[in-house]
Every structure is written in C-alpha cells, then in structure tokens.
Symmetry: C2
Subunit: 341 residues, 2 copies
DNA sequence: TTGTATGCGTTATCAG
DNA sequence: CTGATAACGCATACAA
C-alpha cells in the first residue's frame, strides 16, 4: 500500500505538508504544492480513511439500520438517503434489522463498532433499550417511518401522519355505501400499525358503523400465509366484509394474492384501499386507491435532520410528520371521480 | 469513549490480556477472563473497528457499487448480498454509481478510501479503467449483472444468460403469428443490452422474419421520456409492430406508460414480452410474460465468489452465468398455455 | 499464564 | 512557509 510518507518521500517534503496539501488546511508554497500533487499522481496514492478516522475520531460514515423485507420501498428509501448523504460527504453503511429486536440490537452494535458518525433507524416495535444505549453514547440518531410516542434527547424522528389518512380511507368506503369494512395489518408492536389501527377505528365510529372486532385482522409479521389466513377468516364470517383497508404494502400483496385464490377481483367482488402506494401503481391493474408516502422526502428529511444534529448535538429532539397523499384510483370501486396520478 | 485500556484498568490486567480475551486468541486464566468480561460489561465497552482495522489491515467491510435507479431489483439484490455478507461477518458499504462512468469512478474511490476488503460492482458500460485500477490494487472484485467479455485476474463475474432467452421471447411471438416484432432497450453500452439485442436479432433471423432496423429502439439511459419517444416512433411507422420485446424492467415501465397514453392495452392492442420480471407480477394485470432473473441466487453467488477469492486471491477469474426463467403469462396474448407463477 | 513495547496511517500541536 | 513528534485504539512479537 502506498502511504502518505511514500508521497512525502517522492515529493521531498514532510508528511505534514502532504497532509496539509490534501486537506487544504494551511498555506503552502505553490511550488511545493505542485510537487506534492505530482507525487500523489505518480504514486497513485489514495488517502486512507482508517488512519484518518483513528486520528480525527470521525469516519464520515452514516449507518442505516432497517428491514429490507418489511419495507417494499426499501430501495427508494435507501436511495434517497444515500443521495443526500453522499452529497454531504458521507458514506452509507447498511445493516438489516429484519424488524426483529434481537437482530436489530446486533445491527446497531455492528454499526457502532464501525464507528458510524450517526445512524438512521427504522426501529422495531421493541427498540427502547437499543435507543437508550444510543442516547447514552450521545450518537446522533434519526428514527424513520415509525415515530415513538416518547421523545429522547439527541434522537430525531421522521415519518408520515398515519391516523387521519387511514380514517379518511374508511370515510371514503363508508361514503360509497360500505358498512362492513375490514382491516388487515401486520406487526401490532409497530408504531405505524398502532396509529393506522387507531385511524381505522376512528373512521368506523365517526361514520356510525358498528364496531366489530372480527373485522380486524392483525397479521403477525405480515408473512404471506398469515395474510392468507386473515382473508379466509374474513370471508368465512357470517357477515363478511365488502371492503378491506390494507395496513401496509406487504399486507396488500398478501391480501391481493389471497383474494386471487378465492377467485375474487377488486373492486368487483371486494373494495380495496391501502396504506402505502406502489411505484408502478398506474401501469398495472387494479389501480389501487392508496395512501402514498413521500418516500424521497422522508429520506431527504431524515438526512437533513441528521446533518443538523451532527452540527449541533444539543439540538432539542424533533419529530417531523409529513403528510401522505391519497391517490384516488379504482380499486375502491367508485369510478366516477378518479384523480390519481 | 471507553477503550480497551479502560477495561484493562477496571479488570486490573493489561490491555494485551483484554485483547486476547475478546479475540479468544490465547489461553487465559478463567478467573482473569471472568474479571475482564465483567469489566467489559461494567464499562459498556465496545471494540473499536477502526483501531483494529488500522492494526490488522482488514475492515471486515464489503463495498457495493451499483445504480439504484437502473435496477428495480435493487432492494432485492442489496438484501441478498447483505444477508450472505453479514453471515460471513462482514458489513456492507453502499455507493451509488447512477450507471454513470464518472460517478462510478467516484464511488469506487470512496469505497477504496474506506478500505473495503472487497467490492461487488454492477459495472457501467465504460468501467474498464476503473476495473484495471482495482486489479492493480489487487482488491477482490465481483461484477454483477453485466459480464464483460474480457477476463481480468482477480475479477469474478456473475449474471444471467441474456442472448438465448431473448431469442426465445422472439420465438414465442413469432410462433403465435407476429411478424412485426419490435424491441426497446436502454443504454447500448451495457453488456446486458448488447447481449439481449443480439438475442433479438437471432430470434428475428431464425424465424425468417425481415430484419428491420426501424423496429429497434435503443433508449438512452432508459429515461421515461425517451421510452415515450421510442413508442411514438414505433407506432408512427408505416407498418407498425404488433409486438414489443422490452429489454429491461425500466424500459417495461416506460413502455407500458407510453402505451397507456396511446390508449392501448396489452395484449389486446399490442403483445408485450419483457426481459426482467416484477416482484408482484402475479397480482397485478396485465400479467407480464417475462424472463425472470434469479435475483437471490445472483446476490448469494456474488458473495460466495467474493469469499472464495478473499480466502485465495490467486484463484483464476470465474465468470458464472445463471439461467433465467421464462414466466409465461398473459401479456403476450397467447392465453391457452399460461404456466407462470 | 501474563505483560511491555511497537507500529499500523493519519493529523494536531508545537517549534522553527 | 515547513517539519518533527506524538497520539488516536488496537493486535502482535517478544519477553518474562
């Protein structure tokens, strides 16, 4: 490996000077500078981040801990985060939590071991102890997607409004005549699930519908079989639902597959509305009526908060809620007024 | 920050012993070990990868350089790679190339600066100089998706067979009666584009169709407007095509959107077949007849080759081709024999 | 079974 | 304007 000392030798200067040339951190004679630059070119020298990190205490690296499986927008989110981050001169270290508290703990440990300067986390339902440990180490953290009720010093959060938009979904179904409206959601420990469920109930109540626990299927971890069972249960009810609110993208996939098994089609046999949109929703049928998250903004917002906190760790914690957009399309079965893009 | 020396002080031993306890790298008195472990617990010590890396020369980090935009399977690939990699005790450092040679160079430099132990790259069409530099530094590299014609020492590659499967797509269209078969592809510099295009021509010729350059639309970078133009051009032909072979996922999205603008529907108004499948292809309509890549296997295979090479850098270069699967569904307009899953 | 000393590549401090 | 030196946290060769 070619080190700074090698460059220094070739350029006939001290390593100090080479360092200063590279980092533009003090005035150096143009002549000398040229010599150094040439030596760098000649040797093919590339500065070693490890050495620098050890010395400076910063790695210019941000850790991202989230579940690849659970988030169908995974790619988009990672991409949005990577873009903002690299623009700011940081690199992205990835760790998969699988939305499982144990693996989440491991993932964060790993990130910590690599000395990331800060982390973005999509916290599992039981992330408290992990977060507390992070707070104690005073490492900047931004929570994404799931916003905890409790605030922590040094921990920001960004996500969307979940409750009211879900209620609106129910409103809409009620307005077009549905009275048996079911909902299927995933992991009940997740903050998002809780909020969307609460929105569902609000919708049921404010539309004067009868509150029926049987219409609520809380899928465990949202695996496909579970969703299949959930749909079967709903269809087997004495008075089956005529509409379903799907709690997230994963559930939507499972639910639609299940309906297919039953040879049912939306919106003909079942009205369908979803929380979470699909990137290609407009090209394929049925065009899903869905609450769409501003994924790019979430990623960019997360990084922006992180950079703010990197600049001043004592900033009071901020929790940002972005407004999702209702994409009114066709799966709800109300054809007339489609506005979706 | 709590360092090894802190632990050593608390445990009343030397730093050396602490190191040995942590790494299980020499015999140590059970009593002493207990004391060290306790001290680690008490202090909340976490070993510093930076210090270790500087000393050992390895970072236990793998770099992944690919374009998030161009690859709709991005999430799946990253996930597959991350899984295999973390199982082997490595972490994943991400860099976006945007499929642009300049940004690719930057991405690789970044990764190199962070001293990744090895890299996985989805090379742009002009990656030669970058790859040569990597070879010179003797850093293990696996190319994914696009397999160069030239072999390089120390550089493995993994991807799918492109030519024959594309020809088969044409075969199928020809067999069900199409004679005006068009193709739309993206960046003509990419190895995959070249191979698929060649497969297209093979198909045209071996089915005795007339070779018509007008039916080939090579999209630049596959942006949506470009695809729109391509479709318009095709439809404006004196003898427009009745079927289209879409060269990749991105093109598929663009083409389907464009067809929609023209109020055309597959397979009614245009037979459609694609290279690259969609994760949710079965749930939405039209169910696309498509060549599907074994994405998980590609990721796992890439990592496996990387680990092999990490164990022995002098392994001869290997180029692996996996077989993609034809998912015969409905967009091709030949209903009878659908076999797709 | 344990400890001391050294150096990995860099940058900050201080001296010139 | 430039250079010598020490230190970041760790693992190892060597000594005890």
């Amino acid at each position: 490996m070619v080190t700074m000392r090698d460059v220094a030798r070739v350029a006939q200067v001290s390593a100090t000077t080479v360092s200063h040339v590279i980092n533009k951190t003090r005035k150096v004679d143009p002549e000398t500078e040229r010599a150094v630059l040439e030596a760098i070119e000649a040797t093919g020298y590339l500065s070693d981040g490890i050495g620098r990190s050890l010395r400076t205490g910063t790695t210019q690296t941000i850790g991202l801990a989230m579940s690849a499986i659970s988030n169908p927008y995974f790619g988009t989110v990672v991409h949005a985060i990577e873009r903002s981050i690299s623009r700011a001169g940081y690199s992205l270290l990835l760790a998969d939590t699988h939305d499982d508290p144990v693996r989440e703990r491991r993932a964060v440990r790993d990130l910590l071991s690599h000395r990331v300067d800060a982390m973005v986390i999509a916290p599992s339902g039981e992330a408290d102890s992990v977060l507390d440990a992070l707070v104690q180490r005073r490492i900047p953290v931004v929570l994404i997607d799931r916003i905890p009720t409790r605030e922590r010093p040094g921990v920001d959060a960004i996500g969307v409004v979940n409750e009211e938009p879900t209620a609106r979904l129910v409103d809409h179904l009620a307005q077009i005549g549905h009275s048996r409206i079911a909902t299927i959601t995933s992991d009940p420990m997740l903050e998002t699930t809780i909020e969307r469920l609460s929105g569902y109930w609000n919708g049921i109540e404010r539309n004067g519908l009868t509150r029926d626990e049987d219409l609520v299927q809380v899928g465990v971890r949202g695996s496909e079989e579970t969703t299949d069972d959930a749909v079967a249960t709903l269809l087997g009810l004495p008075e089956p639902p005529t509409a379903i609110v799907m709690g997230n993208n994963q559930v939507t996939i499972g639910t639609m597959a299940a309906l297919q098994h039953h040879h049912m089609e939306a919106p003909r046999d079942m009205a369908l509305v979803a929380f979470d949109d699909f990137p290609w929703a407009n090209i394929f049928r049925p065009r899903l009526t869905a609450v769409s998250q501003p994924v790019d903004e979430l990623g960019a917002g997360a990084v922006s908060m992180l950079l703010d906190r990197l600049a001043d760790r004592d900033l009071p914690p901020r929790h940002r809620r972005l407004e999702p957009t209702l994409k009114h399309r066709e799966s709800c079965g109300c054809t007339g007024l489609s506005t979706g893009t």
